[in-house]
């Protein structure tokens, strides 16, 4: 009971954060998030095995969060809305939206709490069904209350797709890759070459435009191919040395794209390929054709819902494939290689092939992401693929929990949303407070305070704290957790130390 309330309070705090930052009707979105948190956490923490207990605890957590939402919505509109110069909604509106947010939170909490205690497999099916529903509803909610998160959520999801791919290389195969952004770039430029008029414009012919639906797979294949090419020189290397080589590759690729603005091949004075601007240099290549599908309008950038659903489908498809890989002969070979390369090769695993395949498969998911990204932003620019992309994606993988897909997704969402959504919004809020209170000297000082400038610092701080407090990641897979918290010995380990003692004693007795 007190546990359920506790969870409700924590979920509510997160909701307050959103409401304070965004105001308006964001309380609905806050309700959605609070409901998810309350339901998932309460379900997992509930004592007793009955569905009633699950529903009760989910409901209580959701309700506690809901009350916090209603109150904070009222307070937000009383004190902050006018301060930042937003339009003040009517009291009725404030109340009704607050109550609606609370209701969403309660319903979701109860439903997820109940789903947790369904028998056997139906439990996870039901949980996924509810999550699926939330994923389905979210863009419509975003659109109708003009939350404006969708574009940022899409960017976040692209990074999640990258993180899922990198997880194959780092999490499963244990190969530290610091140049993952290179494959992202290769995917995007493949899309740029194939589905824009750029090449034709440069060489004065009407080049065929390949459809997005084909390009995305070609891009994945191209990235996979370059994964092999990068993998080859790293084969004899391990650990730090491998990381340095991948770092080099990650640096080379964007620079090559940047500098191929004068491309041509001349051998012994004979001009095989006339010099021309292959990649557009710093300006990149744009526009890239959006995907075409009857009934959906991808070209209208003001409504990004089709883009959102397309990306969700791509990610689901990727997770589906990655899961198949993981549970297969190949996935096991990756993990065996990560655990002990020598023993793995003695078990009949071809290390060369297995390593290359890990690089290629990881890269091809990045190629997927790159092609989508190119089409989404409508261009490929070398500055989008610098080292920081590789680092952020790697951090997502580690923060969420190496080797664990839900962990990677949660880690990715947290990093991307705090970086691109919450931090800029804090800045915006502070700036508008300063603007609308120019005559108040203590507040106008805020004009010069810009939290986004501290993003790298904050990011680093989070990483340091995370590695100190929870090195296994937010949602670790069971293995990693055992590995890093060996001191909290599991029953098996306790048994082992016991038999060790037994061995020594009996041996001493027998000799």
């Amino acid at each position: 009971m007190s546990r359920a309330i506790n969870i409700g309070v924590w979920a509510g705090v997160f909701g307050v954060f959103i409401i304070v930052l965004f105001g308006g009707q964001s309380v609905l979105a806050a309700g959605l998030i609070c409901g998810l948190l309350a339901g998932l956490l309460a379900g997992a923490r509930t004592e007793g095995e009955t569905m009633q207990a699950g529903v009760r605890d989910g409901l209580i957590s959701g309700a506690v969060a809901g009350v916090i939402l209603i109150v904070s919505n009222i307070l937000r509109n009383t004190f902050i809305t006018t301060l930042v110069g937003q339009n003040l909604p009517s009291t009725g509106e404030v109340l009704s939206f607050g109550i609606a947010g609370a209701a969403i939170s309660m319903v979701l909490g109860a439903a997820l709490g109940a789903a947790h205690f369904l028998p056997g497999r139906r439990s996870s099916y039901a949980t996924w069904a509810i999550l699926g529903l939330v994923i389905l509803i979210y863009p419509f909610l975003d659109y109708s209350i003009q939350l404006g998160w969708l574009g940022i959520v899409i960017t976040g999801l692209i990074f999640i797709l990258l993180a899922l791919g990198l997880n194959i290389v780092v999490g499963y195969a244990g190969l530290l890759d610091l140049g993952y952004a290179a494959f992202f770039a290769i995917g995007a430029y493949t899309a740029a070459f194939l589905s824009s008029s750029y090449i034709g414009d440069q060489l004065n012919f009407a080049n065929p435009r390949v459809s997005f639906w084909l390009v995305i797979f070609i891009a994945a294949a191209m990235a996979g191919l370059f994964g092999l090419i990068l993998g080859a020189p790293t084969l004899p290397l391990r650990g730090d040395y491998l990381a340095i080589v991948t770092l080099g590759f990650g640096e080379i690729v964007p620079i090559v794209f940047r500098n191929l603005d004068t491309f041509g091949i001349t051998i012994f004075g004979h001009e095989f390929i006339k010099t021309f601007n292959l990649t557009g240099g710093e300006l990149g290549i744009s526009p890239i054709d959006p995907p075409k599908l009857p009934g959906l309008n991808f070209a209208d950038r003001s409504d990004q819902r089709p883009w959102y659903f397309l990306l969700v489908l791509i990610i689901l498809f990727s997770i589906f494939l990655i899961n198949r890989l993981r549970g297969s002969r190949l996935g096991r070979a990756w993990m065996a290689m990560r655990e002990d390369e020598l023993a793995a090769s003695s078990m009949g695993i071809n290390i060369v092939r297995t390593k290359l395949l890990a690089f290629a498969m990881g890269a091809s998911f990045s190629g997927f992401g790159g092609a989508y990204f190119g089409a989404f932003v409508g261009g490929a620019f070398p500055s989008s693929f610098d080292f920081s992309v590789s680092v952020i994606v790697l951090c997502m993988v580690i923060l969420g929990g190496l080797g664990n897909i839900p962990g990677v997704i949660v880690g990715g969402l947290i990093i991307e949303l705090s970086d691109r959504l919450f931090l800029p919004q804090i800045t915006l809020l502070l700036q508008s407070i300063a603007q609308h209170n120019a005559n108040n000297p203590s507040l106008s000082g805020l004009q010069r305070f810009d939290p986004t400038l501290y993003r790298t610092g904050l990011f680093g701080l989070v990483l340091v704290l995370m590695m100190q407090l929870r090195p296994e990641g937010l949602l670790p897979n069971a293995r990693r957790k055992l590995e890093l918290h060996a001191d909290q010995a599991s029953p098996g380990e306790a048994a082992q130390s016991q038999t060790d003692l037994y061995d020594v004693e009996t041996e001493a007795a027998s000799s």
Partner: protein
């Protein structure tokens, strides 16, 4: 068909200036249990590593099952039918017991990338068969069903040794190399493991070569014992013959002991005891 599963001739292995194995001829008759013994540093494990392809012999020939295996990579040797365990257990620590054995079957499974992504019927059936076989092997070595999903590093020491044998058996070997399988075990566990080694030969028809320090095990189980010292072969033959060989006693106990104990049964006992006590 040759009667020997492995025929090594004139095997030399040098690490820089150090000759670890010096001109050793060595055959393993099919269907036998052979032992390789010798003091620490005699070159036993180096010899193992040359059979399994981890080291390439500096010179000499190595014929396994009528084909040369010199210069093959470890995974290729395994595919030909050589399975092994390691002196210091090298399990895949963060994988379950079942997964460890499944990895052992790697070379025997055919699923390729496309088949895995499409989950063809053949791949699914193969995976199911592999799973059943893994459980079968785990039961064969004496790891019960309840241990199947245990992380291998959480298993008790003796079970880890057994799991390593199960993993090696999963490669479907014709020749199984066991590197000190009873090291660190109590007498009870050692007996059980000796029985298991016999079972492997008798029931599965796999030829076994073991490196072992426990003379009771060596003398009780082997049909042929080969003794290495300082990289050279100093004796070979039936356990009884090797046991009373002067050079062997010298290698284990030093020159003085060999001279003293000439003709005495006491020395024999001393060899056994010293090797046991290590």
């Amino acid at each position: 068909m040759a009667t020997n599963i492995l025929e090594a001739q004139g095997i030399v292995k040098q690490f820089g200036g150090l000759t670890a194995v010096n001109n050793v001829d060595f055959v393993i008759p099919k269907g036998t249990i052979c032992s390789l013994i010798g003091p620490n540093g005699a070159g036993k494990t180096t010899f193992f590593n040359m059979i399994t392809g981890l080291y390439v012999p500096t010179s000499g020939s190595m014929i396994f099952d009528d084909q040369s295996i010199v210069g093959l990579k470890p995974d290729q040797v395994t595919a030909r039918g050589v399975g092994r365990t390691f002196q210091n257990i090298r399990l895949f620590a963060n994988m379950t017991a079942l997964e460890n054995v499944l990895v052992g079957q790697h070379a025997r499974l055919k699923a390729n990338l496309l088949g895995i992504l499409l989950q063809t019927r053949a791949v699914k059936a193969e995976e199911e068969r592999a799973r059943l076989r893994a459980i079968e092997l785990l039961e064969f070595v004496g790891l019960g069903r309840q241990r199947v999903d245990e992380m291998s590093k959480n298993l008790p020491y003796g079970d880890q040794r057994r799991l390593e044998i199960a993993r090696a058996l999963a490669t479907n070997p014709k020749l199984l190399l066991l590197d000190e399988p009873t090291a660190g075990m109590n007498p009870h566990e050692t007996d059980a493991l000796t029985r298991l080694m016999r079972q492997i030969r008798d029931e599965l028809g796999i030829t076994v070569l073991l490196i072992e320090h426990d003379m009771k095990v060596v003398m009780g189980i082997s049909e042929k014992v080969t003794v290495l010292d300082h990289g050279g072969k100093i004796a070979e033959g039936l356990p009884e013959v090797v046991r009373s060989n002067e050079q062997v006693i010298e290698a284990y106990l030093g020159k003085g002991a060999a001279a003293q104990g000439k003709g005495g049964g006491g020395v024999r006992k001393a060899v056994v005891q010293s090797a046991e006590g290590r």
